[in-house]
Amino acid sequence: MGDNLRKLEVIAGLVLVILILIGGLGVLQMHTQPVMPIEPFESAVGIPWRTLVAVYVFFVVSTTGLCIVASLGEVFGFTKLEPIVKEGLLMALVTILIGLMTIGLEIEQVTRGYYAMIGHVNAKSVMFWMIMFYVLYVVFLIVEMWFYFYDDLLEQRKSEGLRGLVARILTIPKATDTKDFARVIGFITVFTAIVAHSNLGALFGVNYLPFWHGPLLPVYFILSAIVSGAALTVIGAYLTDLIRGVKIEGERYEAIQMLRLVLGFSLVVTIFFTAWKLVVKAYPNSTLLSREGVEVFLSGNFAFNFWVMEVLIGLLIPLILLAVPQTGRKAGGVFAASLLTIIGIFFLRIDLVMGGLVPKLITGLRFPSPVYHPFELMATAGFFALAIFLYYIGYKLLPMEVEG
């Protein structure tokens, strides 16, 4: 059994490395060959924000959600969730790093990315505030994690090899009362995460595009972050235990049942939010632009993505799986529901970014379908592989399994 697992680990590692290389090639291609000319977009050609922006939004939504869910256990006294805090924090760190990397490589002038923080600052731009808060968030998150892991790192100093070395380096600065301090920093971190994330919602919401425009979009972003966070925490915890060959029981099972509740509740709210958003925007008294903007999802080029991927796979089936006791009470059932939710959320991001841009077209030109450029798909595969790879390395090097 042990040997087989070891073999599987090596094969999975190789696959990840290959995918990361493919992703690197995709990014390189994106920046050496023009990707733009795809569909007429008024005078401009192509949809300006495509798959990679959606992937960025997906990752930063995930990090916010993971941070919120981990904070429920760590900061806000949901003791049942404590067993999954470490995984949640590590996944939050990985997803924000990959998210920032995605957007950093998506912009056309990669080397000028730092302009947005130093020297050329436009305080009126929501994007500027989003960048500032996400950078602050990364710093806070790292500090929080350091305090949270400190006691276990002290234990790990005795280990041999790389694990011991990492622990010895990380424990060079001395600290006491680390768990209390982690809680304080954790509060600041989750606050920053939510502020940063609602800024991302506002980044879309301030534009006068019917599918985005409105003050509720930032709130909706936070809501969908909780959905993503709960689902990803379940996926992370379940897969980790599956690969370790540990049966999920005891307090980890209780934690997953708690997440079932969080996920189920936030899915219900999301369903109401989605339904009313569509009804309001498609109602005959709304502006023509607004009705055309929603039609894209109801019966237009994004209808499959919306009805099948978002609503059926992302919202309804997971909710049923969670609600029915035969599946919901099993860790595997919650895992399946979470996986479907995340697939739905991924398409939700693509629809939000690309579908929201569709009504910018002038009446008379055809509405474009979702645009999946091969280079961008390569890059996307690479980013996801890198996320899993980083999580794996983090899991191996940090004291994840020591009882906290």
């Binding site: 005078s43 002038q109 600052v121 500090v143 008379g364």
Partner: protein, 253 residues
């Protein structure tokens, strides 16, 4: 524990320090617009446009936009309308001329639009007084000149494409060779020296007129006084500097 406290305090200081600095730079930059006493506008007479596309070619040649790609700083939209009541049921067909190839000379277009109401609307950056692209640019690569024109600083643009998303007129695009966003500048390099924008010079029917609206004797002032003018998407509150004469209600954007 001490170390952590120091860190946290520093971060808070960083945020607190940034707010007044950024607010100050924003305000000082915003007030520069209109300093020169000039206020440039372009008046486009839709009735005079024949859809020949000379302005598109002149602009692309003058400003180095790839001729064969369907992106351009200025473009012409050709409309054909089969009117019905209610007005929203009218069949509106639209084609865009943004390369040297003229789709309005295409046989299909001529066949399809026979006996219908047809007209052409030249479009370009509206140089809004409240420009969405200037508002959203995270690095201040978009700014107002002293005479109110909106320009792109190509040395600063990071290519995030937020301006393309924010522009209600679709007037800005990613320059495929430069990797930064590009748009009409009213040929700022020419008007600085007292010359006319390239598209204005190229127009055979004089459908485009450019000038200083603050100068009472300028041609644009006379046109604005003597005609009913309108702007695109007035509901956006962007206050465009491109004014249209004879704009049809079917031109929704």
């Amino acid at each position: 524990m001490k170390k952590g406290k120091m860190k946290r305090r520093n971060f808070l200081k960083l945020i607190a320090g940034l707010i007044p600095i950024t607010a100050f730079t924003t305000l000082t930059k915003a007030f520069k617009a209109g300093e020169s006493g000039k206020s440039y506008v372009m008046v486009v007479d839709v009735n005079k446009c024949i859809g020949c596309g000379k302005c598109v070619i002149a602009c692309k040649t003058e400003n180095g936009v790839p001729m064969e790609l369907p992106l351009s700083r200025t473009w012409i939209e050709g409309y054909s309308v089969e009117e019905k009541i209610p007005i929203s049921e009218s069949e509106v067909k639209k084609k865009v001329l943004s390369t040297s190839e003229n789709p309005f000379l295409d046989k299909d277009w001529i066949e399809d639009t026979k006996n219908l109401k047809t007209f052409y609307v030249p479009k370009l950056c509206n140089h809004c007084i409240n420009a969405p692209c200037v508002n959203v640019c995270p690095v201040y690569a978009r700014f107002y000149t002293r005479d109110g024109i909106v320009l792109v600083d190509k040395e600063t643009c990071i290519g995030c494409k937020y301006c393309i998303v924010a522009c209600p007129y679709g007037a800005t695009f990613l320059h495929p060779e430069q990797g930064v966003t590009d748009k009409c500048t009213f040929c700022y390099h020419r008007i600085e020296r007292g010359l006319q924008p390239a598209c204005v010079l190229a127009c055979p029917t004089g459908a485009r007129v450019f000038g200083d609206i603050n100068d009472e004797n300028s041609e644009v002032s006379k046109l604005v006084r003597g005609n009913k003018v309108s702007v695109l998407k007035p509901e956006e509150g962007t206050f465009p500097r491109v004014l249209y004469i004879g704009l049809d209600s079917y031109v929704v954007e």
